[in-house]
C-alpha cells in the first residue's frame, strides 16, 4: 500500500470551510445589535422579535412575500409533477422520432441561463397583454420545473422492471389498475423526489421571478433583493436564519425518509 497524497483531503476541507463560513457569519450577524453589518455591538434577539411580531411595514411585506412564495411553489410543483411524470413515462415507454424531439424539448430548458428564460417569458406575456402576477410566476416556474421532474422520474425508471406491468396485465388488470396499483407505488418515491426538487427550485428562484412578477406579487427572493437594494438589510439576517433552519431540517428529514425506503426495498 502506497502512501496517498493528503492534498485532496485538505482541498476538500478547505472547500467545506469556504462553503460554510459565510453562512455561519450570517447566523452570527442575526444576533448582532447593530443596524449595519460590522462590529459586534452585543447580543440581541430584537430582529427575530421584529420579524415575528410583524408590526413594521417591512416585516408585513416579508410575510406577504412568504405566502406568495409558498402558493407559487405548491402550484408549480403540482403541475410540473403531473406533466413531468407523463413526459418521463412517454420517453421511457416509446422510442420514436416524436420522443427524440420530446427529449430535446425537455433537456433544452436545463441548459438555458435563467435570464434568457426570464426575458423570453416576459416578452411572451407582454405580447399577449397578460397582466403580470402570481399566475405568470406559476407558469414560468412550471416551465423549468417540468424538465427537472421528468429527469428525476426518468432516472428512477431506468431500474424499473417492466415485466411487473406485463404480469399485472396477464392477470387481468386494466390500464387504470396498472397505473394506480403498480406504477404509482413503484414510481412514488421518484415522483416525490422530483416534486421536492421542483419545490426547492421554485422557492429559490430569483431571476425568472424578477422578470415575470408584477407589482404586489413579490416572492421572498425578490423581497430580499429589494430590501438589499433599497431598504435596510437588518431583517434579512434573521430571516435567512429561519430560512436555513427550515430548509436544513426538510433536507435532513427527506434524506432520512429516502434512506429508510432504500433499506427496506433494496431491489427497487
Amino acid at each position: 500500500m502506497r502512501k496517498r497524497s493528503r492534498l485532496p483531503m485538505f482541498v476538500t476541507l478547505g472547500v467545506l470551510l469556504f462553503l460554510y463560513a459565510p453562512i455561519l457569519v450570517l447566523i452570527l450577524y442575526s444576533f448582532n445589535d447593530s443596524r449595519y453589518p460590522g462590529a459586534w455591538q452585543g447580543f440581541t434577539l430584537k430582529w427575530y422579535r421584529m420579524l415575528l411580531e410583524a408590526n413594521s411595514v417591512e416585516a408585513r411585506d416579508i410575510w406577504r412575500a412568504t405566502r406568495n412564495t409558498l402558493v407559487v411553489a405548491f402550484a408549480a410543483t403540482i403541475i410540473s409533477m403531473v406533466f413531468g411524470t407523463m413526459a418521463a413515462w412517454a420517453m421511457y415507454r416509446f422510442r420514436s422520432r416524436l420522443q427524440s424531439l420530446h427529449q430535446m424539448l425537455v433537456y433544452a430548458p436545463l441548459v438555458v441561463p435563467d435570464i434568457l428564460m426570464g426575458i423570453s417569458l416576459l416578452m411572451l406575456f407582454v405580447n399577449m397583454s397578460v397582466n403580470l402576477g402570481l399566475t405568470t410566476i406559476v407558469v414560468s416556474h412550471t416551465t423549468f420545473c417540468i424538465s427537472y421532474v421528468a429527469l428525476v422520474v426518468l432516472g428512477r425508471l431506468q431500474d424499473f422492471d417492466h415485466t411487473l406491468v406485463d404480469a399485472a396485465r396477464d392477470l387481468g388488470a386494466n390500464g387504470f389498475a396498472v397505473c394506480v396499483r403498480i406504477l404509482l407505488p413503484l414510481l412514488g418515491p421518484g415522483i416525490a423526489a422530483g416534486g421536492l426538487l421542483a419545490f426547492t427550485l421554485s422557492v429559490d428562484d430569483f431571476v425568472i421571478t424578477f422578470f415575470t412578477a408584477g407589482p404586489g406579487s413579490t416572492t421572498l427572493p425578490v423581497q430580499v433583493y429589494s430590501m438589499m437594494r433599497h431598504g435596510t438589510p437588518t431583517l434579512i439576517n434573521a430571516l435567512s436564519v429561519i430560512f436555513i433552519i427550515v430548509t436544513f431540517s426538510v433536507v435532513i428529514f427527506s434524506q432520512r425518509v429516502l434512506q429508510r425506503k432504500n433499506n427496506t426495498h433494496p431491489h427497487i
Binding site: 502506497r2 496517498r4 485532496p8 483531503m9 482541498v11 476538500t12 472547500v15 467545506l16 469556504f18 462553503l19 459565510p22 453562512i23 457569519v25 450570517l26 453589518p37 460590522g38 462590529a39 403531473v82 406533466f83 407523463m86 413526459a87 413515462w89 412517454a90 416509446f94 416524436l98 420522443q99 420530446h102 424539448l105 425537455v106 441548459v111 438555458v112 441561463p113 435563467d114 435570464i115 434568457l116 428564460m117 426575458i119 423570453s120 407582454v126 414560468s140 412550471t142 416551465t143 426547492t200 429559490d204 430569483f206 431571476v207 424578477f210 427572493p221 430580499v224 433583493y225 438589499m228 438589510p233 434579512i236 435567512s240 430560512f243 436555513i244 430548509t247 436544513f248 433536507v251 434524506q255
Partner: protein
C-alpha cells in the same frame, strides 16, 4: 395505431407546454430584436435593423468580453478545485461519502440570494472579512473589496462549486482506481498517474461540469448586480437594465439573442465531443 394514439396523448401535455412557454418565447425574443421600439416603452410596428446597430456600439464588446472572462475563470477555478475533491470523495467509504456529499450540497439549499447577501456583508467595508484582512495587513484599511470584478469572481465560484463537484464525483465514482496503482507499478510518478490516467478517466464528468458551470455563469445577473459595480457589469445586467430602467424591449431582446448565441457555442461543442467520444468508445469495445 392505438399505440401511437396513446403515445401522443401522454406526450402532448408536456410537449405542448414546453413549445408554448419555451420554444415560442425564444423565437419571439429573436424576432423582437428586429422590431423598433414604440414611444410608450412597448414594441412598435414594422421591422428594423437599427437595434442591432445600437448593440454593436463600442461599449458592448467590453461587456461581452468581461462576461466571457469572468465565466471562463469561474469554470477554470471550479474545475481545478473540484477535481481533487471528487478524487478524495470517490475513495471514501460509502457511508462517509454520503455524509460528505450531503455536507457539500447543504449550503446550496439555502436561498441563492441569501448566500450572495452573506458575501456582501462579509466584504462590506465594515464586514468581518474586510476588517480581518485589514488587521492582518493584507489590504489597506480604506480599501474597497466590494464592487469590482474580483468580488464577482469570488461569489461566482462560491455559487457554482457544488455544480462542478457533483458531476465530477459521479465520474470519479465509476473510475477504476486500480488503474492508478497499475500506472504507478509501471513506473509513473504520482502526478503523472493522476494527470494521464485519472483525468482522462473522468473526462465525461469534466465536460458536464464545464457545461453546468460555464453556461449559467454566462447568464449571471444577480451576483454582478449585488457585489459588482458599474465597472463589472455582465451581459445579464445590461439586459435587465434595458428592460427595467430604459424600457427598451427590442434592445433587451437583441442583447438576449447575443447571449443565446454565446451560450449555444459551448453546448454545440459538448454535444460534438460527446458524439465523438461515444463513437471512440464503441470502436474500442469491438
Amino acid at each position: 395505431m392505438k399505440r401511437s394514439w396513446r403515445e401522443w396523448a401522454i406526450s402532448l401535455p408536456s410537449m405542448g407546454w414546453l413549445v408554448f412557454f419555451f420554444v415560442i418565447p425564444t423565437i419571439l425574443v429573436c424576432g423582437i430584436a428586429f422590431k423598433p421600439r414604440s414611444i410608450n416603452g412597448g414594441i412598435g410596428d414594422g421591422w428594423t435593423l437599427g437595434t442591432w446597430l445600437d448593440v454593436l456600439q463600442p461599449s458592448y464588446p467590453l461587456v461581452v468580453w468581461r462576461t466571457l472572462w469572468l465565466s471562463g475563470m469561474t469554470t477554470l477555478i471550479c474545475l481545478l478545485v473540484s477535481v481533487p475533491v471528487a478524487y478524495w470523495l470517490a475513495r471514501l467509504s460509502r457511508e462517509a461519502r454520503n455524509w460528505m456529499l450531503l455536507l457539500i450540497i447543504l449550503p446550496f439549499w439555502t436561498n441563492f440570494l441569501i448566500r450572495v447577501f452573506a458575501w456582501w456583508s462579509l466584504l462590506h467595508s465594515q464586514g468581518w472579512l474586510k476588517q480581518a484582512l485589514a488587521w492582518v495587513g493584507l489590504v489597506s484599511p480604506d480599501a474597497q473589496l466590494l464592487y469590482n470584478e474580483w468580488a464577482v469572481l469570488l461569489v461566482l465560484v462560491y455559487t457554482y462549486i457544488p455544480f462542478a463537484i457533483l458531476p465530477l464525483f459521479a465520474s470519479a465514482e465509476k473510475f477504476d482506481f486500480s488503474l492508478l496503482d497499475a500506472a504507478r507499478d509501471l513506473g509513473a510518478g504520482k502526478l503523472r498517474a493522476f494527470v494521464s490516467v485519472f483525468l482522462p478517466g473522468i473526462s465525461q464528468g469534466m465536460i458536464t461540469a464545464f457545461v453546468v458551470v460555464f453556461i449559467p455563469a454566462l447568464g449571471s445577473y444577480a451576483i454582478p448586480d449585488i457585489v459588482g459595480g458599474p465597472q463589472s457589469e455582465m451581459i445579464g445586467n445590461k439586459i435587465a437594465q434595458k428592460v427595467f430602467v430604459d424600457r427598451n424591449l427590442p434592445h433587451a431582446s437583441a442583447l438576449a439573442t447575443l447571449l443565446a448565441l454565446v451560450v449555444l457555442l459551448p453546448v454545440l461543442y459538448s454535444i460534438f465531443t460527446q458524439r465523438r467520444q461515444k463513437r471512440g468508445n464503441g470502436g474500442r469495445r469491438s
